[in-house]
């Protein structure tokens, strides 16, 4: 049902998204690996993906229901990325060794797109990366050329577009050859075969743009204090912020996955920050309000000293921060709770589907005791994974494995089709309950 709905909606989908395309921020949106989707979507997307990395990430937007977030998240980075890492290390040799000086960098470049993020968080980056051998499904022929094509079937590879992005920018700056061409041509060729021709041509334009004009720093880099330390060290070794060049700094830092664009923009920020030590690096808007603030504080200054005013300001800020942290913890707990309940519900529904309706009676009670200690939520969520596996329902575990698009379709589909008219309103009420969160 889900598949059917999706494919039929595609042609229509092309049009509304067409004009949205111009508005579409040329930003890099990579779906977090595992959450990708139904078969129909995936086969289409995968066909797109297999032809080129650049194209891949730009194509995700039209795909329905994709949560297209960039995957640079601190803790979630590694697992998906590492799969590719070990893979590419073996294929590093296939990389056109054009510049001997870069040869050493080739493998690291290929491998370590993801280490970038990793470095700040762990010290033994390489160690950790090599510890993920199990995550690497064997995909032979995947990294064949400089383009490092990602094969279709594995959607987790979407993260590899980041890698590719980094790679492309590497290619841009360091080698002015085939790699670029290889990357671009196959894409244009193959994508035209595709269902959404208008979309693909638009994408192709954006691709060209990405390569030529806008810096492809869409692979977002999360700078941490440690990384910045390394940066500063490198800059100092190269004669200070005025004399250091992005390329030099990048090479000196030797951080895998760090592109020259990352370094360039960071260097720019760094220079700005140094030249204006008193104010922030936000620019003129900052200056405006700083001057106003200073004027105001002049009043306070005369009466009792700026220090006390600052102290008060500090107090308030501290307070706000405290509350924010508490609030965030609560929000997280609420979501965990909600997720747990949802999964429990799904599990029971599966059981119910197979048997009588008696098992729903337990779930009819909406006031599930919150005495399920928050601490236990996680443990219990994990426990639920086993029975789900037994039941074998594909949407028993909605979050990791399927797109929510799919879930919505399927679950909505269940209702009219089912003979369980009782279950439907119950389910609706149930989900409303679980859906109830932060006011």
């Amino acid at each position: 049902m889900g598949a059917g709905a999706v494919s039929s909606s595609f042609p229509v989908f092309a049009s509304p998204l067409d004009d949205k395309y111009s508005k579409y921020p040329d930003s890099f949106q990579v779906s977090s690996g595992r959450e990708l989707v139904t078969n129909s979507i995936s086969t289409q997307a995968s066909a797109l993906v297999s032809n080129g990395n650049i194209d891949g990430h730009l194509l995700t937007p039209p795909s329905p229901g994709f949560p297209n977030f960039s995957t640079v998240s601190p803790h979630g980075r590694l697992p998906q990325n590492s799969q590719f890492i070990s893979q590419s290390s073996t294929d590093g040799a296939s990389f056109p060794p054009n510049h001997s000086s870069h040869q050493d960098l080739q493998s690291p470049v290929l491998i370590n797109q993801y280490e970038v993020s990793h470095i700040p968080w762990c010290t033994d980056t390489l160690q950790d990366l090599l510890d993920f051998p199990d995550n690497v499904p064997v995909q032979t022929g995947q990294v064949e050329s400089a383009t490092g094509v990602i094969t279709s079937e594995d959607h987790t590879r979407r993260n590899d577009w980041q890698w590719a992005d980094g790679l492309i920018s590497e290619l841009d700056t360091d080698w002015n050859e085939l790699p670029d061409v290889n990357v671009v041509d196959p894409i244009s060729e193959q994508t035209q075969i595709h269902q959404q021709p208008p979309v693909t041509s638009a994408e192709f334009r954006s691709v060209a743009n990405t390569l030529s004009t806008a810096p492809p720093t869409k692979s977002r880099m999360r700078w941490t204090p440690e990384l910045h330390e390394a940066f500063v060290e490198a800059v100092n070794k190269l004669g200070g912020s005025e004399h250091a060049t992005p390329k030099g700094v990048k090479n000196l830092m030797n951080v895998e996955g760090l592109t020259i664009y990352h370094v360039k923009s960071h260097l720019q920020k760094y220079r700005t920050a140094r030249h204006k030590p008193e104010s922030s690096s936000e620019g003129t808007s900052e200056k405006n309000f700083t001057s106003i603030e200073e004027a105001k504080s002049a009043d306070i200054k005369t009466s009792f000293g700026i220090t006390e005013a600052l102290r008060l300001q500090m107090e308030l800020q501290k307070r706000l921060h405290e509350q924010l942290e508490i609030q965030k913890k609560l929000q997280l707990q609420i979501e965990l709770q909600g997720q747990y309940l949802q999964e429990m519900f799904e599990t029971h529904k599966k059981i119910e589907d197979g048997k009588s309706k008696t098992s729903t009676s337990a779930l009819d009670d909406p006031s599930v005791p919150l005495s399920y200690a928050i601490a236990d939520v996680k443990a219990e969520t994990l426990k639920l994974d086993q029975p789900k596996a037994g039941i074998g329902a594909s949407n028993a575990n909605p979050t990791p494995e399927e797109g929510f698009w799919d879930i919505s379709q399927e679950q909505r589909a269940h209702e009219p089709g089912d003979g369980e008219s009782n279950a439907s309103p119950t389910k609706r009420a149930r989900t409303d309950q679980t859906g109830d969160i932060i006011n």
Binding site: A5, S9, V12, F13, P16, P25, S32, E35, P61, G65, P67, F69, S70, V72, R220, W223, T224, P225, H228, A273, P277, S280, G283, S285, F289, E293, A295, K296, S297, D299, I300, T307, E308, L312, Q313, L316, R319, L320, H321, Q323, L324, E325, K328, L330, Q331, I334, S367, P398, F404, W405, I407, Q409, R412, E415, T431, G435, D436, I437, I438, N439
Partner: protein
Amino acid sequence: MKFGKRLKQQIQETLPGWRDKFLSYKELKKLVRSISSAPTLLNGSFEYGRAEEEFVYLLNNEIEKFNAFFVEQEEDFVIRNKELQQRIQRVIDKWGPNGNHPSETDYKEEMAKIRKDIVDFHGEMVLLVNYSNVNYTGLAKILKKYDKRTGGLLRLPFIQKVLQQPFFTTDLISKLVKQCESTIDAVFPVEDEEKTREAREAIIVAGEGIFRNTVAALQSMQEIRRGSSTYGHFSLPPLNLPDSELIQSVQLNSPIPIV
């Protein structure tokens, strides 16, 4: 409705460069309303699917916006943090045991400047955390509305993904904030009771910028969590601010017009 208004207020009070980086709550709400009032909203229907996709598409754009802004600000903060630390170190060295002891007034001036900068820096970071939170809250609310109005099941899985987004993972910033707080303690002289009281009274004339924004944020939070019609098991409890009277007293009804 309350959240929307509060959000607008916060946006107004926020630092100028941030104004267009917040969630377009109102627009999204309008969209949800139009989706739910559309006639052909049958479950599993084609139009519904498309509407949902559009909604998701917009949400994704918003999230992308948050991520981009947040990560960029974070980067700036990381840089400034280091610079500030270095600056403090230089001052300490200059007036420390090995320094050449320049004049007392110079020292005072330097210290005053540094204090102000540290406090402002701290404030901006906290505001970034607040930014993250406000947008998250808005997203959660809009998703809830969506599910409610359209009978969809979008919220739960979508929110799970939001939780992993860069803009939501504020751990680094919080760490820097705490670092700042400990630095401040080292850099500020011992508190003078009398002066502090005076400061609190006089602070009513305080102007804009970070301070104002912070107060607005705290007030907002308090209001939002005061309770509402849909308060339930899964709502946040009311805000428990130890010195909420402090917040009350710091009213932002400044007679000085905002230029």
